[in-house]
């Protein structure tokens, strides 16, 4: 019975596809890309960066791939809400007839949509969500951002090389924070260092002074921190300065989430000298990045708001354009994903490759230092770790 | 014969101020007692102590021979001690029929039923109808309370109390706030209360008290200062002192 139903669906579907093919032979198609992201609410800035990255790509490359025209359909999901994400993804696929799903700032939102991909014959390009496991949930997922494991692991090497052997970790108590803690600990202890204490703090923490006090009391030589980008980072960095940790010489190590460029004007002087590892700095020195920053700044309106989700979105659009090219505008998820496996290009962030096995992006991770450049602050790249894959995949629960 | 309600040496103080001071009284079946006293005599506190809304500092309350001093208010209601309210406390958006049905259902132990409708329970509705008829409320049985006259609301207050089939009924100013012309309705209802019911009425309205009560208790400054017949009360020196004295020193 079920078999019959499925068969019927499939044949129906194939007929539709065949008709569509016949259609495209003669006419140019509009190819819709559905983008789900936080365009309002507390994470609106990150959503705005998605849009800026996409707009920048369209501005630089035009909205045509071959004869086909790309149309972006945005859907808002203010905070992680998988049920809503699934409903939106379904609506995009079924009603808006999008051929590609993209965006996804939060992991659960991406996870909720992956079960649709196969049936919908739609590839998904994750432009931010950073939990390693996402790519394993469906063969139609490609990620152009980063994972927390990926950006964190090199920091352990940095710490060891600077002679630090005792570190206290301080992370927000949720998925990515725990990822960061595990990644740092795994790499650091492999290198012979010791994590003397691992503190997890609630996401809603506003006052970090008591925690800094604990850092001081722990006797660690350095502090490794992970906080999601946003308002608390400001109070966190202030607390680090005000409680005298900086003057006491305790090093501050973190992933780049903590010093995203849009927060730097607010962090200001306080943040100078902070060391972070990340996949992208707006100040990255390359012709590709100059072009990108120029276009993206124009798209976002206020250049000070530009930060890392934009580059994930920009490269995501590149991947999608390659998929469209490979399929000639036809809806064929298998072919599309196959075409970008092993795809290598020079992104604004540097040389990158889509790893053919994991479909996650292999890229350079940079060590950066917050520094003043003219009258504004930047993440100045001081060292690079090339061709980093995602070490987190080895830890994904099967 | 054991009294239905027996109160012994009931005491309550609020922050050093003694509001109920060694009060004792008992009610027997068929008693019609009025409790009066000047403002601030502690009548409301007394009612709250008897119904269990307040915990006494000392003394004992027995219902039909059973000590209920520490029982919850709801327990006392189940044992037959029911009160009415001085200020109407009715459900503004519900009908008289529903009010009485609540009380009847509760008494019959059917209040917790989640299936069926009270309107289709013949035994409940028969009794609700009887009570509505008894207090001449049938005509407005299905009108929301916020839309009925105040006098009728007072009757409904009484109807709810009766629906609980009390053995002891505490009436807190049953005619309060009703225009004089309409008190007749209440009085008529009071006259027809079941004969074996013990009633303690708290009121200011002396006309009503004299017509209704066979016995009057006067409370002043938390103590019982008089317990006797309505005829004797006006002549009692302490009562006159309590009333006139307190008015003389009124703030």
């Amino acid at each position: 019975m079920i078999g019959f139903r499925e068969d019927m669906m499939k044949s129906l579907f194939l007929t539709t596809v065949a008709c569509a093919m016949l259609g495209t032979a003669a006419f140019a198609d509009t190819i819709k890309v559905g983008v789900i992201g936080p365009f309002s609410g507390p994470f609106a800035l990150q959503g705005k960066n998605f849009k800026a990255g996409i707009d920048a790509w369209l501005a630089v490359n035009g909205n045509k791939v071959g004869d086909d025209e790309i149309e972006i359909v945005y859907r808002d999901i203010p905070a992680a809400d998988p049920a809503k994400s699934k409903a939106l993804a379904q609506e995009l696929v079924v009603r808006e007839k999008v051929q590609y799903l993209a965006g996804f700032y939060f992991t659960p939102d991406a996870m909720a949509a992956t079960p649709l991909l196969q049936q919908g014959n739609v590839p998904m390009v994750v432009m931010n969500a950073a939990t390693s496991a996402i790519v394993t949930t469906s063969p139609y997922v490609v990620r152009t951002s980063f994972t927390t494991w990926q950006t964190t692991t090199p920091m352990a090497t940095v710490a060891r090389e600077s002679g630090v052997s005792k570190v206290i970790t301080l992370v927000s108590d949720y998925g990515p924070g725990i990822d960061a803690e595990s990644a740092f600990k795994a790499a650091f202890e492999k290198d012979g260092g010791k994590v003397v204490e691992a503190i997890r703090m609630p996401l809603s923490t506003n006052d970090f002074s008591p925690l800094m006090q604990r850092v001081k009391d722990s006797g660690a030589e350095a502090l490794f921190a992970f906080l999601p980008s946003g308002p608390p980072t400001l109070a966190f960095v202030k607390a680090y300065n005000d409680t005298g940790l900086k003057t006491a010489g305790i090093k501050f190590l973190a992933t780049g989430d903590l010093t995203q460029e849009s927060d730097l004007p607010a962090l200001g002087e306080q943040a100078t000298g902070l060391m972070t590892t990340f996949h992208y700095a707006v100040s990255h020195d390359s012709p590709e990045n100059k072009a990108f920053v120029e276009a993206a700044s124009k798209a976002i309106g206020n250049p000070a708001e530009l930060s890392f989700p934009a580059v994930g979105a920009y490269d995501g659009m590149y991947v999608i354009s390659k998929m469209i090219e490979a399929t000639g505008g036809e809806q064929n998820a298998d072919q599309a994903v196959e075409a970008v496996k092993g795809l290598t290009w020079t992104s604004p962030r540097g040389p990158v490759t889509i790893d053919p096995d994991s479909r996650h992006i292999t890229q350079t991770i940079y060590l950066r230092e917050v520094a003043k450049d003219g009258d504004h602050y930047i993440n100045k790249e001081v060292k690079s770790f090339e061709k980093q894959g995602d070490p987190g995949l080895a830890h994904v629960k099967k | 014969m054991t009294p239905l309600l027996d109160i012994r040496s009931l005491r309550k103080t609020f922050g050093g101020l003694s509001v109920t001071n060694d009060v004792s009284l008992s009610l027997h079946p068929g008693d019609r007692v009025a409790l009066i006293g000047p403002n601030g005599a502690g009548k409301t506190t007394f009612v709250n102590l008897v119904t269990g809304a307040l915990k006494p500092d000392g003394g004992r309350v027995s219902l039909n021979g059973m000590d209920v001093t520490r029982s919850r208010p709801t327990e006392r209601v189940k044992r037959g001690l029911v009160r009415s309210f001085q200020v109407t406390r009715l459900f503004k958006d519900m009908t008289p029929e529903e009010h009485i049905a609540c009380a009847v259902l509760q008494r019959m132990g059917k209040a917790g039923r989640m299936l069926g409708r009270h309107g289709r329970m013949t035994d409940v509705m028969t009794e609700v109808g009887d009570i509505l008829d008894f207090l001449q409320l049938s005509g407005i049985a299905n009108v929301r309370v916020r839309e009925i006259a105040y006098g009728q609301q007072r009757l409904l207050e009484l109807a709810i109390a009766l629906a609980l089939r009390p053995r002891v009924l505490l009436l807190d100013e049953p005619a309060a706030g009703i225009p004089h012309a309409q008190t007749g309705l209440i009085e008529k209802a009071l006259e027809r209360l079941p004969a074996d019911l013990a009633v303690l009425m708290i009121d200011h309205d002396m006309d009503l008290v004299f017509r209704f009560a066979k016995r009057v208790i006067v409370l002043a400054a938390g103590s019982v200062i008089f317990d006797g017949s309505p005829q004797a009360v006006a002549q009692d020196a302490r009562v006159r002192e309590a009333y006139l004295g307190s008015y003389a020193h009124a703030r």
Binding site: S40, S209, P210, A235, K238, S262, P265, A266, A304 | -
Partner: protein
Amino acid sequence: MQTVLSVAIDALAYGMVLFVISIGLSITMGLMRVVNLAHGAFAMIGGYLASYAARDLGLGYAAALLIAVIGTIIIAIPLERFLYRRIYGAPELTQVLMTIGITFCIIGIANFVFGPTLKTIPLPETLRGATDVGFRTIATHRIFAIAIGAAIAVLLWCLVEKTSYGIRLRASVDNSAMAAALGVRTELVYAASFAIAVGLAALGGAVGAELLPVEPYYALRYMVTFLVVVSIGGSGSIGGALLASLLLGAIDTTGRYFAPEYGEFFFYLAVIVIVAVFPRGLAGRRA
């Protein structure tokens, strides 16, 4: 010992910031009986105005605070006149709906006008950096916040208890019909109280910006915290709000120091216990 002192001073600073922002809400909720969920939005407006004045106009810190307070009151006046006046005395749920609606609108407008990034209020040289208090260092600005909190507590107490405005306010609250009959213009009293509450919110938003940074979502992000403070304190009580702020600041801070993993549990369990023991708030009056 040093740890205890150190935690205590953090608790005091955090508690005072909570107090400065929440006290205005305590006034609207306790004295005017309005569940004003838009309180955080007014604090946010204050923060934005102060930031604009200090950063973009280059004015001094004191001037920025003043502009924040006055500007926010000016913005709030039409809101009081056209929206809040409709919900005085309305059921709580109606007030919740209206004030959440107002909050959403203010968030949308702030996002549109100022953008989604964090805004800071540059501090004057004297408040910048850290001060050594013997056993540790503490941000100078926190000492300033503690002082502002203490000053507000004293001033408000004098205003409510010692002035004729206070008498009229308390009369209007106890029985507004009676107060009106006695010649108190309750509408004016309410409007004045609303202005004071909003002004305090704005001051709190600007002074507290070091700890609770200004961004569009501020209005909702900290709403729950303020509500908890006011309700634990017993709405309408200045002493209660102060006590609750310090107590909750202490609970939060010690929880974060000793068991950050369970900080959230610690805090909310404490809230449940306090409400269970003091159902009318720490300074609540008996019904």
